[in-house]
Symmetry: C2
Subunit: 590 residues, 2 copies
């Protein structure tokens, strides 16, 4: 049995570094003072550790699958009751804006809670995560009637929500969506088609599910400009506001996946299912992007939460398993493996990367809060630009890195890591979806390079570069020469690689596309290097105590041993399309 | 269904680069001329592709598990017959020395066949691999009687063999072995104890299995110097030389693993099982190390074989799946994903890394042939030193890299990669054992740094460095400035990192231990960088043809986009033990 304990001190530290204090100054967030936030986090951490973490293994072993004999997806034993308790405790509402019926805490606090939720039970956490995104999309785009109909059910988690984008021929390329919505004459629409990869598309934990479905309407223009968004409930909502008759949404099958087996991945079929338009006709993709941007940061948080859990598991094993000895030890002695330098290296890597992910995601959440809730003005606009810039980075870097962390978690366990009962392998399998869904990391890279990097004359990036240089200067003054040097060099190579791309954006588009993935990898390292530099300075200042000393080690380790990877990408960014095998050589027809 | 086609041209090219011609000049290997070798490889490639590759999926889906109702491990449908056909075709004997009853082909040719075998069906391939290692150990260390008893059964594969080292408390630390062997008065021994993680420890594909078991004898000294090696057959061998009565070796259970599910991983119990001493009393570890060194290179080959298969699968998908379009394309068009620069990047990375692994492993196999079969003299001795130096590198780099390749294989498939039916996930799960077994890669790193690097005043490493500089010079002359520069810099940083370690070997042992893993990563890149430089020069020279042009691209890609990762490890090698979290902070008791 894996133990999970919410790392409240680490989370509090990260919240301080990224500036919860400043977020709490935004009008409306005054109640997010430290005492309240710490109490809230402590209580939540206990709940998820006690109630959800023990259900993580059964989610993997049994999974959630369509049971044709009952006609719906059956979740693992205990999950239904856990969801009921989660909803009853009111946990779904904490960071939902007060105007939408929530607790009105900042998204930054929501991010801290999300980390714990995901650490405790990633597959389970997807259900409230999707529900929250669906509610946010309706809150922003739906008519008053629709909001009144659905938000009181979705916000508290009485009903759940899904995102229904993908079809067999429309994955990364949503222009290919074929699901059709036909006007029904009464202002509603009849939706018919098939969607795949719908997480929590069907289940037995709530009495209704609201599907947000991308569909094409008759005579709509071709491509993505002809796609609209519809709210399609699993059961029609009666005059009393409660779930009534089935609405023709059928779960045809569920997938057998590498991981996150507790989260049912459904093939859904709609036949004349009644749907209501969300937002404007033909502007469905715009509405869906609200949901997708929030979800992208949510996927980054999944990388963080999973990594923290994998780290805790590996650390626990290193403190239990005896094997070998250190030079000079009595040959008859065996030591706990956590004494071996290479095991310490693996655990330090995991811990440092977890801390870096946390800072990146919390910082992004803070920027999102400022973009959403600052009073109108240049600060809000700057935050909005920074949010756009950081979103692909906050999705890609933590998800790629989570796979590294989970792999190290297996390696710490040695042969036992390969045995499923140990549990380390589950995190490794679960993590593998992260670089794929909500826009593959390759797509994040294109988003960063082609949309985000160039906008506003690269202002957000230049701001991070300035931050890196400022932190490097302070590190230098504080006697951290090696760390300062790496950070300064990182700022330089990142800047020059960006310049190379920006200059060729129009003239050598394919070369720029070829360099996008190494560039986003550089970007993740640069931003986290900057933030871990802040950690080093803050922990230095804290001085003395054990936790601060450990944070000095992990920050220094990150800067001197992880950040230098950035140099390995420089050649790759600018190598160009001709340094890649051609489709012809790869046997790909034209 | 995954298609596998033996990459005969690529294998032939690699054999030329590493010098099959020179191996064929060694007395006894004259029959390994190109015509013969190419015929052999062609026939073998067809056999494994037709007969074994289609059985790979069922090995994963059904697996090999102990069936308590029949009292033994049951292998998946079709595997027994495939093994029978493999044995009948004589494939187990090809590269076994003629004096031991084999075909007497060089190990280099054996390595080429092993790659294809593993690509076709990794879990299945472990059975002949272990059998071959067991036979080689007996051939080298056992008495004439024992050799006469077992080799005629093991070499052709009539019986199979296992390596029985690990116990619950003796994994990486074999000093803790507790299995006991007590003299029986008639020259044999009674072996009693338990072993875990015994691959192919029990199965239904052959009528007998010979276990090579590490055990302690009464009054033996403590630690590894008190361990002896015993041959313990599953069934006692009758006077007629055939398998007779059971020998008290019981398969207690089989493990549920992350991957290689077709290969049964057994817990074996021995109770007064009759065993015969192999080699000298108390020198069992020395005899076992023969087997382990060969097995370590064998595990490197598993990394190669698995990566080639994962590459073929991803390439196939990239030529079938349509999604999106390129800049400037008609918006209504969709293209095969192999046209997208980022997919080309992933496939090029996979292909380049496969080629680099192949060169490293074939080169190591060539060196092993020279060490084993050259006439006595300085060349043989130099080859022996190079073999010792390359072995940990040839185990660690391809196995770490195979995990990267298999992960990219999933990523190319997008969401489908996460669905088990697609098959890409199997390679990813299978690959994860490689950095763990036969000595974790952390142990390979310690072996490299503490034993191999310093011996003979680092002569083998200096020889590789000289090779890198020579190749860099030729690349420079041939107009490959960028590649020459990276290779030269790689030689420099590798050398200076090695010097840092060598100078601190005695005085700062823990610092050296802390730097071992980044150093072996550097070493893998340096050696493969050198060999890929040779590939670039040779392919340049070949000119004109399509295959040569593709090899120029992958070699250039490797040198300019993969090899630069070496710089990212420089700081890590010399950061020292104090840059790692302490056991105290990690919660590890002293």
């Amino acid at each position: 049995m894996t133990v999970y304990a919410a790392p409240l001190d680490d989370i509090e530290f990260a919240l301080r570094i990224v500036g919860l204090d400043e977020v709490a100054k935004i009008p409306g967030f005054e109640h997010a003072d430290w005492d309240t936030v710490k109490d809230l986090m402590g209580e939540y951490g206990r709940f998820v550790a006690d109630r959800l973490a023990p259900l993580n293994r059964i989610g993997d072993e049994v999974g959630s699958y369509l049971d044709p004999s009952v006609g719906h997806v059956v979740t693992p034993e205990g999950w239904k009751e856990a969801w009921r308790d989660y909803v009853e405790a009111g946990w779904t509402t904490v960071s939902v804006p007060a105007k939408d019926g929530g607790g009105g805490f900042p998204g930054l606090v929501g991010a801290a809670l999300a980390e714990m939720l995901i650490s405790s039970n990633f597959a389970f956490a997807m259900c409230p995560g999707l529900t929250r995104s669906a509610a946010a999309t309706l809150a922003q785009w739906a008519s008053d009637d629709l909001r009144a109909k659905y938000l009181p059910k979705l916000v508290p988690g009485t009903w759940t929500g899904t995102m229904d984008l993908t079809e067999a021929d429309a994955g990364s390329d949503l222009a290919q969506v074929r699901t059709m919505a036909v006007p029904d004459g009464d202002g509603t629409w009849k939706v018919t088609g098939n969607k795949i990869f719908i997480s929590w598309g069907n289940h037995d934990m709530s009495e209704n599910t609201v599907h947000l479905v991308l569909a094409r309407t008759p005579d709509a223009p071709a491509g993505t400009r002809g796609i609209s968004l519809f709210a399609v409930p699993d059961r029609l909502v009666g005059a009393n506001g409660e779930a009534g008759e089935p609405n023709g949404v059928v779960c045809v099958s569920t997938e057998h996946k590498l991981g996150i087996k507790g989260s049912p991945t459904c093939v859904l079929s709609y036949e004349n299912s009644r749907g209501e338009l969300v937002g404007e006709l033909h502007r469905g993709l715009k509405a869906m992007f609200t949901m997708m941007n929030e979800s992208r940061i949510g996927v980054g948080l999944q990388g963080l939460g999973l990594s923290e859990r994998a780290y805790q598991k590996a650390k626990e094993y290193a403190g239990e398993r005896k094997q070998g000895r250190l030079p000079g030890d009595d040959p008859s002695k065996t030591v706990l493996i956590g004494h071996h330098p290479d095991v310490r290296r693996m655990l330090t890597t995991m811990k440092a990367e977890v801390e870096a992910m946390r800072l990146l995601l919390f910082y992004t959440a803070r920027v999102c809060d400022m973009a959403a809730d600052l009073p109108d003005g240049p600060d809000k606009e700057a935050a909005s630009r920074m949010e756009a810039f950081l979103t692909p980075i906050a999705k890609a870097w933590p998800t790629d890195t989570a796979n590294e962390v989970a792999s190290l978690g297996i390696q710490v366990h040695g042969g036992m890591g390969f045995i499923e009962e140990t549990g380390a392998a589950q995190f490794y399998r679960d993590a593998r979806i992260l670089p794929i869904y909500e826009g593959t990391n390759g797509i994040q890279a294109l988003d960063l390079v082609f949309r985000k990097l160039r906008m506003d004359e690269s202002e957000p990036m230049l701001q991070v570069v300035a931050g890196m240089k400022e932190v490097a200067g302070r590190l230098e003054s504080a006697g951290h020469q090696a760390e300062a040097k790496v950070l300064t060099e990182a700022a330089e190579v990142w800047t020059s690689s960006a310049r190379w791309l920006v200059e060729r954006f129009m003239s050598q588009t394919l070369d720029v596309m070829a360099g996008a993935t190494p560039f986003i990898a550089m970007s993740g390292l640069a931003v986290t290097g900057w933030l871990m530099g802040k950690q080093l300075l803050a922990s230095d200042a804290a001085g003395g105590d054990k936790a601060a000393a450990a944070r000095v080690v992990t920050a220094s380790f990150f800067l001197t041993q992880v950040l230098p990877r950035i140099g390995g990408y420089v050649g790759a960014v600018s190598a160009g399309i001709d340094n890649l095998l051609t489709p012809e050589v790869l046997g790909v027809e034209s």
